[in-house]
């Protein structure tokens, strides 16, 4: 592989889109060629820089889109229901307007199937052990249930373990409901669910609530959820674990809004916060690391002044 071959394939290499042999050849060449090694570094740099162009989805916009879609689907569904059932069925098979010959053939086929099935059951009865009717009804709809496990029992019977769609309703501060809400704060798929659960948990007491909010404040991928969680920690701000979590947010969160909210919660404008020397040390570390936000710096200084700490060096 020549330098030219390597350099025009660098992006495909970084995307993991080269064949195995090409990848091996490229890596071998880069290992031996300083020029191509630098080119690879430059390629990595612009790939990382391009990532900054990625726009996160605003939760409000997502919520608006979902709401609009729901009403549009409801309208489309109402319009669809106005048509006869047979026509909707035919359309679902891809026939917008079946010709007469096809309609006649379909009707004849259905009559034949019904007649044959009735004769078969009349002569042979149902297979042994088949559960049809009350035993199977009311348990779940197989089309929507999520199957977790299937265990053959060896005697031609089978045990199917599935999850069923269920709903629970209750006061937000009920222990069971709260346990669901805490679990929902860790939903990996839907930031909307996480934001909803964090907001409902805000203002509630309990160590499980605090831990869930701390986890969301420090680790949630979505800035809006982190912001909501930091706000929720206001009620726990005299707690050392919460203060440590807020300092972590000040040090590590990439979003200026979240960092500002964290210092607001830690050091309210009117009132005092009881912070330990350990937290004061952590705040000093935040200042030393070159805190870029003037607002956060000012509020940190105020808080440290409350502790009678030397702040003139910042």
């Amino acid at each position: 592989m020549t330098c030219h071959d390597v350099q025009i394939n660098l992006s495909l290499y970084l995307y993991g889109e080269l064949e195995f042999a090409e990848e091996e050849a490229l890596e071998q060449h880069v290992g031996e060629c300083a020029l191509c090694e630098r080119a690879l570094e430059r390629e990595k740099t612009w790939h990382s820089a391009a990532n900054a162009e990625r726009t996160d989805v605003p939760l409000e916009l997502l919520a608006d889109c979902r709401r609009d879609l729901r009403s549009a689907v409801a309208s489309a569904s109402a319009a669809g229901q106005a048509r006869p059932a047979w026509r909707r069925w035919a359309e679902s098979l891809g026939f917008s307007s079946p010709p007469w010959s096809l309609r006649l053939a379909a009707a004849s086929f259905l009559v034949f199937i019904g007649f044959s099935a009735a004769r078969f059951i009349d002569r042979n009865g149902l297979p042994d052990g088949a559960v049809i009717g009350a035993d199977a009804m009311g348990v779940a709809d197989p089309a929507t249930a999520r199957i977790r496990d299937i265990e053959p029992n060896g005697d031609n019977r089978v045990r199917i373990v599935f999850d069923q769609q269920r709903a629970i309703t209750g006061p937000a501060d009920n222990d069971d409901i709260r346990a669901w809400l805490v679990a929902a704060t860790r939903d990996q798929n839907d930031p909307g669910i996480r934001a909803d659960s964090v907001q409902i948990l805000n203002g509630q007491a309990g160590r499980d609530v605090r831990d869930a909010l701390l986890n969301s404040a420090q680790h949630d991928l979505n800035a809006a959820v982190r912001l909501e969680a930091v706000e929720g920690l206001r009620g726990f701000r005299d707690d050392t674990a919460t203060q440590e979590g807020l300092v972590y947010v000040l040090q590590h969160d990439e979003n200026a809004g979240v960092r500002s909210k964290a210092i607001d919660v830690l050091a309210p404008a009117r009132g005092t916060t009881k912070i330990t020397p350990h937290i004061a040390d952590a705040l000093e570390a935040v200042m030393r690391s070159g805190q870029p936000d003037d607002y956060v710096r000012l509020r940190c200084i105020e808080l440290l002044q409350q502790m009678d700490t030397r702040v003139d060096v910042y």
């Binding site: 495909l12 820089a49 996160d56 916009l61 489309a76 089309a143 929507t144 769609q165 839907d190 809004g257």
Partner: protein
Amino acid sequence: MRFGTSIVAVDTRAGIIGNVGVRGATERASEETLIRAAQSGDQEAFEQLVRSYDQQVLRMALNLLRSPEDARDIYQEAFLRVYRNLPKFRFDCSFSTWLYRIVANLCLDQIRKRKVRKEEASAVAVDGGQVDRFQFVAEPRPDVDPQRQLMSAEVNSRIQEVLDRLTARERLVFEMRHFQGMRLRSIGEALGVTEEAAKNCLFRATQKMRAALGDFV
């Protein structure tokens, strides 16, 4: 759902974690169950299906069009087409391929209709006011020095210029590969072209990017 004292807990959601097109067998089976339920008229199943993909669809439309209003239109139109045509979906390809084909065509049409420029307002109209969409763009880390931040801002501005200069198809392929993390094979399927054609398109896009940035990085 917004807030109240009621919560609906549904545990049959078909989750999607990671890249499109890299779904495990269990997820695929679960998704197929959802699709079949939605085909039989189950609105809840359709909604779960939408929620599995809608953030990626919206992000892609936002990235490509840089206009929340247009992204909203794409979202609405794409999922309405899915809803209307779902009964005809025969599992000849994966659902994500089918969905992305719809979204890609809508976005291509929109990009070709008008040239999307940076001077568009950055405000996103949402219920209860406006939100600046740049607040959702990743910020530089607080511990990065100012000189480097300035350089980084310049590089990002150049990248944006290059993105705007790409052809509609190059822009789309770059978006799907770089930002959405889709494999070239899936991109080809979604665009109705061969994997090789998608690769060439991506190749041209990255060449332009490299040429424009030169020794800047």
